[in-house]
Subunit: 242 residues, 2 copies
DNA sequence: CGGCAAATTGACACATCTCAAAGCCTGTGG
DNA sequence: CCACAGGCTTTGAGATGTGTCAATTTGCCG
C-alpha cells in the first residue's frame, strides 16, 4: 500500500477521509527503505522528499559543532508519523533524523506533496495538522521539562510513547518496545545518562514499570500517569472536521 | 491594511508573494483588538478564529490544574507572528494566549483561512510554513534547555528575541523592549524567579547587557551569542521558493 | 508620604552533574 | 566451551547548579 496504512490510520483517527482523499493517498508514489540501528535516515540540509515511519522508532537529533560539541534529541517518531513533513515547507532541515533500532520508512517526493496542495485542500489541511501535532508535542515536552523532576519527566515520556504507539496498534497489553539507550534517553530529557539510570531505578522501585533492555512493561498505568501528571489531550486523538 | 504589514513582511522575508497572493491577503477581513498587560487574548478550548500580533509581545501559557497548579510559557510572539494559526488545523487550543505589556492583535476567521486553502495553494504553503517555523523555535528551546545552563539559556532567549524583533524592524540599535517580569522569564526558561534574577545579574556583571525594567540593551552581541552558542538558522529567515 | 508589587540578596536544602570504578551482557575468536 | 573485549548499566562520592524560604531594597503609583 502506498503511504503506509499506519499514516492513513493516524489521519482517520482525527478526521474523515473522502473516497477522493483515500484514492489520492493510495496513488502517491513512495519508496520504502530500511535502516539499521544508529543509521542516519536524513541529514541536515536541503531536501526534495520527506519520510514517514512504517515500523520502528526514529528521532530527530539537533547538533551543535564547536567545543564541546553537544546534541539533543528533540522528537521521537513512531509508526504512522510523518517525521520530516515540515521540511516540505521549510525546504531545509536543521537537524538529522536517525534510526533507533531497525526502522522502515517510506519516502515521498515534495513534488507529489506540492501537487497535492494544488488540488486537495482537505488533505493539505490534514497534512498541515500532522505538523501542528508535532508542535503540540514539542510544547508538551517544554512544559514537562519545565515542571517535572527527573522520574516524573521520564514517566511522562513513557506515557506519551505508550499512547502514541497504542493509538496505531503498535503495542500489546501494557508492553512496548523502546529501543533507546540510557544515553539517548538522557539526550531526550536533558539529563546525564547516570541520572537517567537513577530515574529508571526509581520507577522500578515504585513498581510502576518493568524495564529490561528495550522492553518496557507498564505495571501501573494509574500510578505512572499520576506521577507524570500525564494528560493525553495534546496528542489530538479525536474526530473533528478539519 | 488588512493582515498587518508585519506579517506580510514576515512572509516576504522568506518567499516572493505574487500580485494575487498580496491581493488575497489585503482582502482578508480582520478585526483589530487591543489587550492590556496580563489580559488573556485567547483561552484554551475550541475556536473559530486565529490571531496575529500587530504590536507588543504575546505568549502561550500551558497550564495544569491540580495540586500544585503549575504553568509554563511555551512560546513568545512578536509583531508579525500568527500566534495561534495552528488552531486552524487543530480546532482546539490546549493553552492560553496572553498579553505581555500592551498588545494589539488582529483576528481572522477560520472560514477565511479555509477558503484560502481551497484556492490559494501557495499562500497555504506559506501559512503552513509559519507554523513550521513555530515548531522549529520550539525545538530550539528544547535544545537550549537541554544543553545550556541558566545564564547562557537566558542569553539565548535574548538573542532569539532580538533577531526576531529586528527582522520585522521592531528594535532600534541594540535596544529592545521586553515587557516580561522575572517570574515570567522563569516560566519561559523553567527556572525559579530567584534563579532568573541571578542569571540577569550574571549577564550584567559580564557586561553583556544593560537591563532596566523592560528595556534591554545588548552591549556585546558577540559576547552574548558566544555565551548562548546562538545560531539563528532555525528562524528560517531567507528567501526560498516554497 | 504610604503601600504594594517586583527585584535583590543570603543561607541552606535538594537536584543533578562529573568522575571513577565495578558489574553485566553480548559477540567473537581461540 | 571458555576467555576476552567492548559497550552498556549500575553504583558511589563529591562538586556544581538550582530551588526554597525569609528578609531587605527598589521602584512605581496613588
Amino acid at each position: 500500500m502506498a503511504l503506509g496504512g499506519y499514516f492513513t490510520r493516524f489521519l482517520q483517527l482525527r478526521d474523515e477521509l473522502s473516497e477522493d482523499d483515500l484514492a489520492r493517498l493510495a496513488a502517491m508514489p513512495t519508496r520504502l527503505e530500511t535502516f539499521q540501528p544508529g543509521e542516519v535516515i536524513v541529514s541536515p540540509g536541503p531536501h526534495t522528499r520527506s519520510c514517514l515511519v512504517v515500523s520502528g522508532l526514529a528521532g530527530r537529533v539537533t547538533m551543535l559543532a564547536g567545543k564541546p560539541a553537544v546534541q539533543a534529541i528533540t522528537a521521537l517518531h513512531v509508526p504512522g508519523d510523518f517525521v520530516d513533513l515540515h521540511a516540505f515547507v521549510l525546504k531545509e532541515l536543521d537537524h538529522a533524523v536517525v534510526a533507533f533500532g531497525r526502522v522502515e520508512v517510506e519516502f515521498v517526493d515534495h513534488t507529489e506533496l506540492a501537487q497535492m496542495t494544488e488540488h486537495f485542500p482537505h488533505l493539505t489541511r490534514l497534512f498541515w495538522m500532522t505538523t501542528a501535532i508535532d508542535a503540540a508535542v514539542h510544547r508538551q515536552w517544554l512544559f514537562a521539562s519545565s515542571v517535572l523532576r527527573s522520574s516524573a519527566h521520564l514517566a511522562h515520556l513513557i506515557c506519551e510513547l505508550y499512547v502514541r504507539m497504542s493509538s496505531v496498534g503498535a503495542v500489546r497489553d501494557y508492553i512496548m518496545t523502546v529501543p533507546l539507550l540510557q544515553r539517548e534517553l538522557a539526550e531526550i530529557l536533558g539529563y546525564s545518562s547516570i541520572h537517567i539510570n537513577r530515574a529508571v531505578r526509581d520507577l522500578r522501585d515504585r513498581k510502576l514499570v518493568r524495564w529490561q533492555g528495550s522492553e518496557v512493561e507498564i505495571l501501573s498505568w494509574d500510578g505512572l500517569t499520576r506521577l507524570a501528571r500525564f494528560d493525553p489531550t495534546y496528542l489530538e486523538i479525536g474526530y473533528r472536521p478539519r
